[in-house]
Symmetry: C2
Subunit: 261 residues, 2 copies
């Protein structure tokens, strides 16, 4: 679902232009050398040729249109020609998600990125079936999701931490909403009541245990929310709560969603 296609969109850069996050800092006229997976993707998958347009993002200066200047076997040169957008303002929402089985957590990473979170904090709780996360793999999933959904900023992913540590070091000014199986406030009202920096904490399959729930509840910044009468899987709870926050407190209510300045 393109956010803003057709009539109002200029013909250049073309909608179908590949979109890539690069390591280098971009500037007008700078030439970026793409190798490895980027070169493979552009050259073999997208069959890019000299003169083709590529959209480049660097997670710092924003989004640029670039043109391919050279295509070699394992290397493609792209020159940044015009900044299309500055780096977006990211709604100040963290997702603190208990680790799930690999494919379910992959989905959390992909969807949290699409939905626009600022930070993803994997959490280890007593009922987690996993306590590790492959950081490289997570960054790849997040980057590809950001490329696909036209974000110009990557969410930050931090090291998994135990729930106890998360709560012990919780920032004073950040509201922590947690999906509480014992019930909580209606989610829209609860979100509206608290403004400012926020985080959503989602437990593993099987939920938090009683000691964990008490520890969370005793944090002054914590507010329980309910996500309805059905038993949501961990990844569904994460996606749903993020969606509702974005609709109520995030940037879904703004009138200009053209993605342009």
């Amino acid at each position: 679902m393109p956010a803003n296609p057709s009539p109002r969109t200029p013909a250049w850069p073309p909608k179908s232009a590949p979109r890539l996050f690069v390591e280098d800092t971009l500037a007008e006229g700078c030439t970026i050398v793409l190798e490895g997976p980027h070169a493979h993707y552009l050259g073999k998958v997208m069959r890019a040729k000299v003169g083709d347009t590529v959209i480049l993002c660097d997670n710092q200066t924003g989004e640029w249109a670039g043109r391919i200047g050279q295509v070699a076997k394992r290397r493609i040169d792209v020159t940044a020609s015009e900044r299309l957008r500055p780096r977006e303002e990211v709604p100040d929402l963290w997702l603190c998600a208990a680790l799930l089985k690999k494919d379910r957590f992959d989905l959390v990473l992909e969807k949290a990125t699409e939905l626009g979170v600022a930070q993803i904090q994997p959490v280890v709780t007593r009922r987690c079936v996993a306590d590790k996360l492959n950081a490289d793999r997570a960054i790849t999933i997040i980057t590809e999701a950001a490329e696909q959904c036209a974000r110009t900023a990557l969410p930050q992913i931090v090291e998994p931490t135990k729930l106890d540590n998360l709560l012990k070091n919780w920032p004073e000014e950040r509201t922590l909403y947690f999906a509480d199986e014992e019930g909580g406030g209606p989610v829209t009202n609860t979100f509206v009541e608290h403004s400012g920096p926020a985080a959503i904490l989602i437990g593993p399959e099987g939920g938090f245990d009683d000691a964990e729930r008490n520890a969370i509840r005793s944090l002054p910044q914590a507010h329980p929310i309910t996500l309805g009468p059905r038993i949501l899987r961990g990844e569904t709870a994460a996606i749903s709560a993020l969606s509702v926050w974005m609709a109520v407190c995030g940037d879904w209510g703004k009138s200009d969603h053209s993605g342009k300045e």
Copy 2:
């Protein structure tokens, strides 16, 4: 994430009891013969024994606790002993979702069920990469999701239809929200403004084409919604819009989420 576990939940039936939808109509004392995949699941996967508790649903009378009376090689008998809940009241929301690639549409079916929709209408649009749906497979996904999330009612899944037909036969009293790439009202406000029966229409990857968008917009019951500035994949748009509707107009705001009468 159990909706309501521990202290308030009675010890019987046990939380871990398998949950199954059956074809037969349930009543107190009736014995159900489980064969095929049900018998395999209970006997081989769950290693159920005589006397074990099974939760049975029939999509008609509600949810029952049953006890296993006999375990044979390919057949297990369960006797319904007590009705735990009547069939739930289902919020009157349909999902009309353009067909997507198989794994992405499977996710839509699973999550729409978890999120509590009444009906799922697969839609064929011009940019769809698929125009068929394996009905048996879809029913299996929906049933397993309902078993997992403790629904007592299955969403109805209907035959895929072309967008033109959907619009031509659209029920007069049902609001049709559609995720419009050209922009629309903020989603929470738009949902609140219209009460009563509703449906959410989500386009395929690549969105609706101009003619389709015009056709939808010309339907008096149609109201465009926006799902924020990022380009959401089809399945993400479906899950997000359903979540927001359930939070704003559905049953997430009700105070008693115990799932009991």
